[in-house]
């Protein structure tokens, strides 16, 4: 039961955290994925293995890292390996159960753009680029995505495919020789989506409390498909909200300038 008010962002993080299990080995992107993964660790999945691309394996930070390489990650890790080893043995080697990614732009098949808005050669906005994501998307056993819905982010056609999801739909991964499952879950500030069994198109499985279908369509650039049975996503509990808000308060304090 939840008696607290909560923000759409808190709803997204808490919902994402619930999708992670104690035995998962999760390759964590910075931002919302990092918050969700650490929420899971601090609530129902204390033994989840969190892996950051800086080489830290089995890390348990007290505050959310600002970057993927904060010292806190190394201090609390089971081990810290060199970056080539991270990508070769641990990711390419198939040991990651869930790659957890964010997105600047996303399409209905879970293809992700974090490279450029506009054309690649003459971009309107040059974004940071893929980093680890292209291979996280193909080498993790499955991929979870978390991203706030907006017409600028949820596009009918994205400007650049940084990380391959289901391509043009069913069978496309297999045709390219990708033998992992790909995007299997999308958690947003409004809904939970999963790929359709036949087409692999993301389909709404549950709407967050109070979210309407009109609100949904206004934030998505393609005609949304809904599952036959659309449920209501359970609201965050008071204790979940307390854990998340404490984590964020600790994080904000830690990222302020040291007193001189």
């Amino acid at each position: 039961m939840s008696t607290n008010h909560f923000t759409p962002d808190e709803m997204m993080i808490v919902t994402a955290s619930r999708m992670l299990a104690n035995d998962d080995v999760c390759f964590v992107g910075i931002g919302a994925p990092s918050a969700a993964c650490n929420m899971a660790r601090l609530t129902h999945a204390p033994d989840i293995t969190l892996v950051y691309e800086s080489g830290t394996i089995g890390t348990a930070p007290d505050v959310l890292p600002l970057s993927i390489g904060d010292g806190e990650l190394c201090d609390t890790a089971v081990t810290t390996v060199p970056v080539p080893e991270m990508f070769r043995y641990w990711l390419q080697g198939g040991r990651i159960t869930i790659g957890f990614l964010g997105a600047a732009q996303l399409d209905r098949f879970g293809n992700i753009n974090t490279t450029a808005i506009g054309t690649y050669d003459n971009p309107k906005v040059r974004l940071p680029g893929g980093g680890g994501a292209p291979e996280i998307a193909s080498s993790s056993q499955q991929v979870y995505i978390t991203c706030k819905q907006s017409p600028r982010a949820f596009m009918d056609k994205i400007d650049f495919v940084t990380s391959f999801g289901h391509g043009e739909g069913s069978g496309h991964r297999e045709r390219l020789g990708v033998n992992t499952k790909g995007p299997s879950l999308l958690i947003t500030d409004l809904a939970v989506w999963r790929p359709d069994d036949e087409t692999q198109e993301f389909t709404v499985r549950s709407l967050h409390p109070g979210v309407t279908r009109e609100q949904m369509q206004a934030s998505v650039g393609w005609p949304i498909r809904y599952a036959d049975e659309v449920e209501e996503t359970p609201a965050p509990t008071n204790s979940e909200l307390e854990v998340l808000r404490d984590l964020r308060a600790r994080t904000a304090a830690a990222h302020q300038r040291a007193e001189t």
Binding site: I30, G31, E53, S54, G55, T56, P65, L66, S67, I68, G69, D70, G71, L73, C74, T80, P82, V83, P84, M86, F87, R88, L91, Q92, N111, T115, Y120, D121, P123, K124, V125, R126, L127, P128, G129, G130, G131, G132, A133, P134, E135, A137, S138, S139, F160, V161, T162, S163, F164, G167, H172, L176, G177, V178, A254, H255, R257, A258, E259, T260
Partner: protein
């Protein structure tokens, strides 16, 4: 044996206009002091290589020293975009730059290939990814045993690599601890390796499997306490996250950027880094 030099001389002897240079560090141990020295010396026409170009590459690009960057993630980690890099790519300010873009897996494998003396790196990657359509250096190779088509990229072999490390001993053996990143590979892949360290000690006091660059792999060492700031040196001082947040505002405008560079880099020196980390020092 390695030479112990002032930072000025270590940079002057080893970095030349037109070089392919890597200033490596994966969030941790980023060689800020060495990059600032390069800026003061007015080196030009560099090809800069780095997996995660962040603030120092934003600064060098904004100062017009760079003709090309080879990279896999160009962002201010956890904060956002690199505004000087964007201005160069989107508006050619202060000059146009060429970009060669990869994924982390590709860059990590390519440095390792460089260190291993191989011409190229082979890995399972870029499957369905758009970068291979825009970067002609991303190619493929077929496994002669299984027939699997794998990605191939050229080995990275910088003319010079700069890294920052915790400490060196009197002979010049260098110890790197914590998030060791890609620095060992980047140093071994390069023709010349320059290391800034927090201190020189009699005994590295470490364990048998520590990450060490033997002195004969290091061209020059300069002692610069605080030389990674606002990045950090594990065991010495913490990451100055507030400075990374500040950089987003400083770099937002050409004027604010140039004023900051003049005050904090051009008119400053390597000796200023120690003060910058004084409030961030680990208590031991």
């Amino acid at each position: 044996m390695t030479k112990f030099l002032s930072l000025h001389d270590a940079v002057a002897e080893n970095l030349h206009s037109g070089d392919r240079a890597a200033f490596e560090g994966f969030t941790h141990l980023i060689p800020h002091a060495a990059a600032h020295e390069a800026i003061r010396q007015g080196v030009k026409e560099l090809t800069l290589i780095r997996m995660t170009p962040d603030v120092i590459y934003d600064q060098m690009i904004g100062m017009g020293m760079v003709k090309k960057i080879i990279f896999s993630y160009a962002g201010n980690p956890g904060v956002g975009l690199l505004r000087r890099l964007r201005d160069a790519v989107e508006n050619d300010w202060p000059r146009s730059i060429e970009i060669e873009e990869h994924s982390h897996a590709a860059m990590a494998n390519a440095y390792e290939a460089g260190a291993a003396g191989l011409p190229c790196a082979v890995f399972r990657g870029y499957l369905g990814a758009g970068l291979k359509e825009v970067n002609p250096n991303i190619r493929s190779i077929t496994c002669p045993f299984t027939g699997e088509v794998l990605a191939a990229v050229p080995a990275i072999k910088p003319d010079v690599t700069f890294i920052h490390a915790q400490k060196a001993d009197q002979k010049g053996n260098v110890l790197i601890e914590g998030i060791v990143g890609i620095q060992k590979e980047a140093a071994l892949a390069a023709s010349r390796a320059v290391v800034t360290v927090e201190e020189v000690v009699d005994d590295l006091d470490t364990h048998p499997n520590a990450c060490i660059l033997p002195h004969w792999t290091v061209t020059a060492i300069a002692v610069v306490p605080g030389g990674a700031h606002p990045s950090y040196a594990h065991g010495y001082y913490q990451r100055d996250n507030a400075s990374y947040l500040d950089w987003d505002k400083i770099a937002a405008g050409q004027d604010t950027f140039l004023a900051w560079m003049d005050e904090q880099v051009i008119k400053a020196g390597p000796e200023d880094f120690a003060n910058r980390v004084s409030a961030l020092r680990d208590t031991k």
